[in-house]
Symmetry: C3
Subunit: 147 residues, 3 copies
């Protein structure tokens, strides 16, 4: 299975459209996202996000935060840890906290998941974005199962 890791942020005229704009910014706006929990199959290939056929049904782990308070700093991150056996994924979000904190919290949680399963981590990938809200803003971070 190929897996992509991406993030995006946007403003928009309504909560729904702001979310949609953030998905477009992340390169995953033209598909139907199906939210799943957080295990990466063995030998998953992590690849750049590519173009989809519009309307494809795409499984993903999604971190998403919205705010309509001007000046709010909103952040979303995902962390992926990979071992020989398989991998784990976590999502994390926050308001008015440093993006580095949100990312490092995500890293702690995914390390713990690997620990609990007795797996030795080969690689950790963390991806996230922050956004300072003007009127209505959204951030997303996602691990997308490509096929």
């Amino acid at each position: 299975m190929r897996v992509s890791i991406t993030s995006g942020r946007a403003e928009g005229p309504s909560k729904l459209n702001t979310f949609d704009n953030a998905l477009l910014n992340a390169g995953i706006g033209d598909v139907n996202l199906i939210k799943v929990s957080s295990i990466l199959p063995k030998d998953a290939d992590i690849v750049p996000i590519s173009t989809f056929t519009p309307g494809d049904m795409i499984n993903c782990v999604l971190a998403y935060k919205f705010s309509d308070v001007e000046g709010d700093v909103i952040s979303a991150a995902v962390a992926v840890a990979v071992a020989d056996e398989f991998g784990c994924v976590v999502e994390n979000t926050g308001i008015n906290r440093d993006l580095d904190d949100i990312k490092s919290e995500a890293e702690d949680m995914v390390r713990y998941m690997m620990d609990v399963r007795g797996m030795k981590i080969n690689e950790i990938i963390i991806e996230g974005k922050s956004h300072i809200v003007k009127k209505q803003g959204a951030v997303v971070a996602a691990v997308v199962y490509m096929n």
Copy 2:
């Protein structure tokens, strides 16, 4: 892909059963609904809702509102916009607002989605229902991906 647009409303003896009754009223009570986000594949055929094999796994965009306050007017609507390339779907709900408002808000949002993607709308379909709560009421509106 064939797509159906439907809505329903009901009272019931518990929140879960009220939701289930509203799904039955909409003709989608005997399947397993999987919620997806909001893109219609190219050349989707919009067809009347038909009978399903009970227990089928069915992807759908779902608008859902519940209230247990007597006299509340609850509304749910979906709006579908179709272009040559593909289509977009939004869901919208409200309490104690006119159904026409909920529908026109849904229309605005889906028009904006199409605009952002630079697509020329060929057709817009809007479907929704209101319900005046007696004891516990629910309304649903859904775009159902039939296969």
Copy 3:
């Protein structure tokens, strides 16, 4: 289709990890869960939970409760009712209520679902767990569609 019914409980160092630990305790921690609504196909076989290929995409009905208040009693239950035609599933959760109450409420709701559909119940299965929170606790109960 084979279907398994399971439940689990755990403590953990974060909300996400507590949930993950409860899924592991229930035997469904190493898969990607996709939440679905609540119909059991005709002739579903109810079998013990077995091992999965890590990362499998697994449809399930999931009851889940989390608390970080020391001493809270959290409960999650699922109820499955089976008829000749097909079956129905409900999930239920509660805080500081007797597990028997949560289970019997689940049973009432699933009986009502079968009633509304005019189906004669052949068998009812109820599964659930309680947990007394130390620092952060979670309980889950699930009906898992195995294939």
